[in-house]
């Protein structure tokens, strides 16, 4: 989230599209209720189903799964056509004025540079014209035909309300009504917030869905302001933290990158990360990358990371592909290329697409290790559960170890919420029986492996033997010790580079924040963005002052928010070019002639002059990007792409299937279905009564929603002879499930041009372990393909068929 949950009360208009906030985040959704009560805010819901969020909305429109880009680009077109643009914001704070290379273009659903063979773009034309001074060329009048604004106008010109009706199945009048509501928020004193979640990410073009809305928000001037923003409602309690700390194939904590094998040494690695400003005087904060990187390497390997050995650059593994994401790992596993696999609090058998493939893959492992507080389906993938898990145990040669771990109530530490608040919590009890903390388990595994390398030697042992492990009890590092490493400390006395007599921080002291992080090895900091979470003031994540001066919703002394306890990202953009708040009644920051003052920690140097330094300090441009250059694999603007399984051909190019640059493995391509065989669109989701596959272990939650079902329209039920509460069989090219039929008016067939599209809903929560009734989930059927940029699987739009059934045979 750019903003926080409590800030949502400041909005005038909430659009929930690509999510279902009331159902998946009920207590965060409370702040929508508060906005309605405080400001008379309105709530719009756009969703294939009439959800529980829609139940309390002011206006609802249906949309066919996987057609969001059409809706969003049409919205941008409507804003431009009707002059609902916050011009001062667009001109000054976006790259609307930047001139783009002549070679860049779009036709037939594709941008320039497409290579069908490689399923990839040559992105060299997707860039600015760089002038002789080394800076990007701009035309602040927006008259230049090749400026981003004019290219955007041209790009969205295809997306008419009629196209929305035809492709999205959203009635034209509904679309236009929503456009009117949104258009009001182009006023500097009206703000819209976007609340989205996996309804946008779980598509083969998920990142572009989100970009579409981000662009709309920029055009309306709604980024960086109170009550505005792009608010990704993250799904798990610490998914934000794990992303921040980089527990992903290609990440280093603080959004640094694991090197590619092409980056043969540290110098080469850093050479593409200079982040020189693209306009004069801009901050381009990533210029500090080397400091963050070196301090991370010092956190990992301490004295073994030196200037002489390139800060132990060789200790880091190097990527030969973009990343070893879960889809790639399970593809490799299925090909017999993976031997050991660890699942720490993760249940991939139910979470990943194409369960049959996941089962086959796990069956090819030598060893699977599961650490979990609960009995998971993954840990039991080898166990026959009749129709619900019909495996031949004897044929599965995988050894499985199931290790009992603690749950939240039994451990201490910080979780990062969706609004980037690091909140500390405490244990109320001990783990049951022999269950142990994950920190103890990970320490034991490490210490035993290290011991083996110490005694036996072996393949490149240095990074293991030299891993920094400076804990009072090496068997169980404490949360406090680890949190202090995340913050960072001085390894030597650190002096001010401008005044070498001035000591900034003494050796051994915790760093105040990331402004003290050094690139010469004199500091360590595991995750620079967390700088300040535990400094010499103590554990700032444990702060519990819930005062909120002037009720802005900031709660600045509650816990700690990264970066620098900042509550709203890009908050400099809440004021105009001269530093005056766009909306005085919702002031966030103001330039007082000398510095920035206000309710939040400025997201800019406190003394950066307003007309000179632009608000988006992480970007080399200093401004936000309506045109994303080559930063995304599938285009600098969002262009409509159908799901890989769709009943409708791409309206721009019938030859295109799905996202033309999404990675698809060969076997998986062959397992895509077509609408001849599978005429019905299915979409998957959570229900409010359950959290993933955990709460089915809870008796109360199991009673609130006991049994797997699918939601279908009355029309489809009539067509197929399906009875309310009766059994149905649903199947895709990859698998079948049995479910109870929930026949409802909340789903209706959609008229897309001359085609009537039926959509069914498949909730996520059932398996074969726990207190609830045994059942299945959507992932027995979902396709094995991910987003082109981040590989999030396409769970939200796939094709199935459905028929009445006499039951699941066993029940």
């Amino acid at each position: 989230m750019t903003n926080s949950w409590t800030d949502i009360k400041n909005t005038d208009l909430v659009i929930v599209m690509g999510g279902n906030a009331a159902e998946a985040h009920p207590c965060g959704f409370k702040w929508v209720t508060e906005a309605k009560a405080h400001r008379g805010a309105k709530l719009i819901v756009v969703d294939p189903r009439f959800t529980r969020t829609a139940a309390v909305s002011d206006y609802y429109a249906p949309i066919r799964p996987g057609s969001d880009i059409v809706f969003l680009m049409a919205m941008i077109r409507w804003m431009i056509e009707n002059d609902k643009v916050q011009w001062d914001y667009v001109k000054n704070y976006t790259n609307a004025a930047y001139i783009v290379k002549d070679e860049f273009g779009w036709s037939d659903g594709l941008f320039t540079g497409y290579d069908e063979e490689k399923r990839d773009y040559d992105k060299s034309s997707w860039d600015y014209v760089i002038g002789p001074d080394g800076f990007a060329e701009v035309d602040m009048t927006l008259q230049h035909p090749r400026c981003v604004w004019n290219l955007l106008k041209e790009h969205v010109s295809r997306y008419t309300p009629e196209l929305v009706e035809q492709v999205c199945g959203t009635p034209r009048d509904r679309f236009l009504h929503i456009a009117e509501m949104i258009g009001e928020c182009s006023s500097p004193t009206k703000t819209m917030t976007s609340m989205y979640a996996l309804g946008w990410t779980q598509h083969s073009k998920g990142s572009q869905n989100i970009r579409g809305m981000a662009m709309l928000q920029l055009i309306l001037g709604n980024i960086g302001v109170r009550g505005g923003g792009m608010n990704a409602l993250r799904g798990h309690s610490n998914i934000q933290g794990l992303t921040d700390i980089g527990l992903m194939s290609n990440l280093i904590p603080g959004y640094l990158a694991i090197p590619s094998e092409k980056e043969v040494d540290f110098t080469t690695y850093m050479s593409s990360r200079g982040n020189k400003p693209l306009r004069p005087g801009q901050t381009s904060y990533w210029q500090n990358y080397p400091k963050f990187m070196v301090s991370f390497m010092k956190a990992m390997w301490g004295d073994s990371a030196t200037a002489d050995n390139d800060w132990a650059y060789d200790y880091l593994p190097k990527l030969d592909v973009a990343n070893y994401d879960i889809l790639r790992m399970f593809e490799m596993m299925n090909n017999g290329q993976v031997n050991l696999y660890f699942c720490q609090g993760f249940n991939p058998l139910l979470s990943f697409p194409n369960r049959a493939k996941v089962t086959a893959a796990l069956s090819k492992l030598k060893m699977l290790v599961v650490m979990d507080p609960l009995e998971t389906e993954t840990a039991h993938f080898w166990q026959n559960h009749g129709i619900h898990n019909p495996v031949d145990s004897a044929a599965i040669q995988t050894e499985v170890l199931e290790l009992p771990s603690s749950c939240f109530a039994e451990d201490e530490g910080a979780l990062v919420n969706s609004g980037r608040w690091l909140q500390w919590h405490w244990a109320a009890g001990a783990p049951p029986g022999e269950a142990m903390h994950d920190t103890w388990i990970m320490a034991q595994i490490f210490l035993k492996v290290r011991e083996l390398y110490r005694t036996e030697g072996g393949a490149y042992a240095d990074p293991i033997l030299n891993l920094s492990w400076d804990y009072a009890d090496e068997n169980e590092p404490t949360p406090a010790e680890l949190a202090m490493e995340l913050n960072g400390r001085a390894l030597e006395d650190v002096y001010d580079p401008k005044d070498p007599t001035k000591l900034i921080v003494a050796k051994g002291k915790q760093l105040l924040n990331f402004s003290q992080v050094q690139g010469d090895g004199s500091t360590m900091s595991a995750c620079w963005i967390y700088g300040g979470c535990w400094n010499e003031d103590g554990n700032n994540m444990a702060r519990r002052d819930n005062n909120d001066p002037d009720e802005t919703g900031a709660f600045s002394n509650w816990a700690f928010s990264w970066p620098l306890n900042r509550r709203i990202l890009y908050n400099r953009a809440s004021a105009d070019l001269h530093g005056k708040p766009w909306d005085p009644s919702r002031k966030l920051l103001e330039w007082n002639g000398e510095k920035w003052t206000g309710y939040d920690v400025p997201d800019i140097s406190p003394t950066a002059k307003p007309e000179e330094v632009m608000p988006f300090i992480m970007n080399g441009e200093g401004v936000s990007r309506l045109f994303s250059r080559g930063l995304m694999r599938d285009g600098p603007f969002p262009t409509h792409m159908e799901p890989f399984e769709s009943p409708i051909a791409n309206v721009f190019n019938a030859e295109l299937r799905g996202n033309p640059v999404a990675r698809v493995f060969k076997d998986d391509f062959e397992q895509f279905g077509t609408s001849e065989e599978f005429p019905i669109v299915a979409t998957s989701y959570r229900l409010t009564e359950h959290f993933h596959f955990w709460t089915k272990h809870n008796k109360i939650n199991a009673s609130l929603q006991p049994e797997f079902f699918v939601e279908i329209s009355e029309q489809l039920a009539a067509e197929r002879g399906i009875k309310k509460g009766g059994w149905v069989r649903v199947w895709s090219k990859r698998g079948a499930v049995y479910a109870k039929a929930l026949v409802t008016k909340r789903l209706k067939p959609m008229q897309c041009g001359d085609q009537l599209v039926h959509v069914i809903g498949v909730p996520l929560h059932w398996g074969f372990m726990g207190a609830a009734r045994k059942g299945w989930g959507p992932n027995s059927m979902t396709p094995f393909v991910g987003d082109a940029n981040v590989e999030t699987p396409e769970f939200k739009a796939f094709l199935v068929n459905i028929e009445p059934s006499t039951g699941e045979a066993v029940s």
């Binding site: 139940a55 109360i700 929930l742 207190a771």
Partner: protein
């Protein structure tokens, strides 16, 4: 339990529950009415009337109220089946005192679809039909703050309270043959806390406070709904039962039946209402006998079931009893 001046909406939880031992502020001395105990002494004091307001227009149907209710009251609702609807468990029960009921409504006037989700449960009537119907002395009590509570030690499991209830709320347990329903978390209210459901409710569609404050809040909510196009928004606080201490804000107050058959004009059944003087004793006798039957048969779990044979037998008994001098005038 007051309205927070900083908020447009009242909050149930203004402070966390106490953990130090403290006396309950709700006791025998606060009882204004008790079943089958007509000569109850007047209460020592009059507590402020309380109410739980359920604003259906803010309800997201998340069932947090059900969950919090079960958790607080240590009940174990059954794990049933999906029968093609969102209601689960399928009905109120001795282990589930509140239930979200989901109604799908195509509004013919606006052309909009509406999902009307109502939290069902005890309404805590000012004039409680259950209490009036109950033959067991002290099994149902009403406190001066308006809470109607079941005292299970006195319950005989006859099920009369169900028939006496115009909202069909109480349910008799097949395990212990006692009748159960929402207590309005009398144990929490007694220490200054709001009910568990109201505290949990994410959107604060359920709020708890004095009845006066809740009416004020409800009126403001009705105004807001009218401004959003719900011309017939209003309060459901039915006069037929003297008003209730759990009441609703409805988008369509003119059509309460849209909300999973919320009764238009609930009244205590004529059977119970007219049951005074000698007839009450007659009824009491019949029920007493029924209950004894249950006890004698070793708690067979049939307190609510009536066979044809039973019916004939009982009918005779009633006829006979009526003709005879009343054995227990003081009851």
């Amino acid at each position: 339990m007051t309205t927070d001046p900083n908020l447009d909406s009242p909050r149930t939880a203004v402070s966390n529950p106490p953990v130090q031992p403290m006396p309950a502020n709700l006791g025998a001395g606060d009882v204004v009415r008790a079943s089958a105990m007509p000569d109850l002494p007047a209460p020592e004091r009059q507590l402020t009337k309380v109410a739980k307001l359920i604003d259906v227009s803010k309800c997201i149907g998340c069932k947090a109220c059900q969950s919090a209710c079960a958790e607080w009251n240590d009940t174990t609702p059954p794990i049933e089946h999906n029968v093609g609807v969102y209601e689960n468990p399928s009905d109120l029960g001795p282990e589930m005192f509140t239930l979200m009921r989901f109604a799908e409504y195509e509004n013919p006037e606006t052309g909009n679809f509406e999902w009307l989700i109502r939290k069902d449960g005890c309404m805590h009537c000012e004039d409680p039909g259950c209490l009036k119907a109950c033959p067991a002395p002290g099994a149902i009590v009403q406190y001066s703050n308006g809470i109607v509570d079941f005292i299970h030690e006195n319950c005989i499991g006859c099920g009369y309270c169900i028939s006496g209830c115009p909202f069909d709320i109480p349910r008799v347990s097949k395990v212990d043959h006692k009748s159960y329903k929402c207590t309005l978390c009398s144990d929490r209210v007694a220490v200054g806390q709001g009910p568990a459901c109201a505290k949990a409710c994410p959107t604060q569609a359920i709020v708890f406070g004095t009845k006066e404050d809740m009416i004020t809040h409800a009126n403001a909510r009705v105004e807001d709904l009218k401004s959003r196009g719900y011309e017939n928004a209003g309060i459901y606080d039915p006069a037929g039962v003297g008003g209730t201490h759990v009441f609703y804000v409805l988008q369509h107050a003119d059509q309460p039946n849209l909300y999973s058959n919320l009764p238009e004009d609930p009244k205590i059944s004529g059977v119970v209402q007219g049951w005074k003087g000698p007839t009450k004793t007659v009824g009491l006798a019949a029920i007493g006998l029924a209950a004894v039957g249950t006890l004698l048969h070793g708690l067979l779990g049939r307190a609510n079931r009536v066979s044809a044979e039973d019916e004939v037998l009982a009918e005779e008994l009633v006829e006979t009893e009526q003709a005879q001098p009343q054995p227990r005038e003081d009851v």
